[in-house]
Symmetry: C2
């Protein structure tokens, strides 16, 4: 069956105010890119000093690689961009609460701050199902927050899975 292009439009926030909403909207646009690749619509950007230094969407289906989540790709890109695997001064913005793997990657890459759109009480590991950022003996504790543009990020994922179920019913 032919894939359905994402029915949600991208957002174009002003470049003049680079706040959490701005970066979350950049991540949201990446999630739309994921949908248009027939991937679960999750997107991530990494910012440093108010600039986006890495931007990626989920690519697991396309690549056949279970590690190709948006956050993982963005972390690899950011480390390459700054020439250092330690991302202490960076901020990760991601549409959904990171899964166990990506939450772990946040700790291992020492990302300073994480902001995610909506909680995942099933598999999220930055407060939802588990709190990997609070491992007592860890060398690194990122600042974690969530909510900005979260409803829009959630609506995108919900609509994607609803469509997947409809397609399945039609088979």
């Amino acid at each position: 069956m032919k894939e359905t292009p994402c029915p949600f439009p991208k957002v174009f926030p002003s470049q003049l105010v680079k706040d959490d909403l701005f970066f979350m909207q950049m991540a949201y646009n990446e999630a739309i890119n994921a949908w248009n690749l027939d991937e679960v619509p999750i997107g991530a950007v990494i910012a440093l000093d108010g600039e986006v230094i890495a931007s990626a969407c989920n690519r697991t289906r396309q690549s056949g690689d279970p590690t190709a989540h948006a956050e993982m790709i963005a972390i690899t890109m950011a480390a390459k961009k700054i020439g250092d695997w330690r991302l202490n001064d960076c901020q990760l913005f991601v549409t959904k609460e990171p899964c166990p793997m990506c939450s772990g990657a946040v700790i291992m890459s020492r990302i300073g701050e994480v902001h995610f759109g909506f909680l995942d009480s099933k598999m999220g590991c930055l407060g939802g199902a588990q709190s990997l950022h609070e491992l007592p003996k860890s060398n690194h504790t990122p600042v974690v927050s969530h909510g900005t543009f979260g409803e829009e990020c959630h609506a995108l994922v919900q609509a994607f899975f609803q469509l997947q179920r409809q397609k399945k019913d039609l088979r």
Copy 2:
């Protein structure tokens, strides 16, 4: 300062008995490869139906990529090899208990069994510091065990860090 080649020899188990010890020794040899690349000596192999389908060592320093742990590289290789991101029938053998990221990747790639050499009570997330394989709402629960060839795997890491400290003292 010139790097010190790994003083521990590789092991060459018989191909006739492909048990946990055989695969752990293959992972140990990968850890020696890591040492010789000046990486923290951790190695991993993934087996399917008694054959090694992926084999990798830690490459974080060399690549400057905090996600380039032995397990992550092996998971990507295995998924590519079998043409499926779901690794339910595969077994991962790794010299050290996986970190938060790699433990999460085990869950996300649905690896059926994990055997690791030695526990990491600080950062290990398959029973040591945390138990990501026991997330109550997860779709996947791998079988986890440890210990085989563990002392040898641990000795390698201890010797590597001891040498790093000596080099630091000489600077």
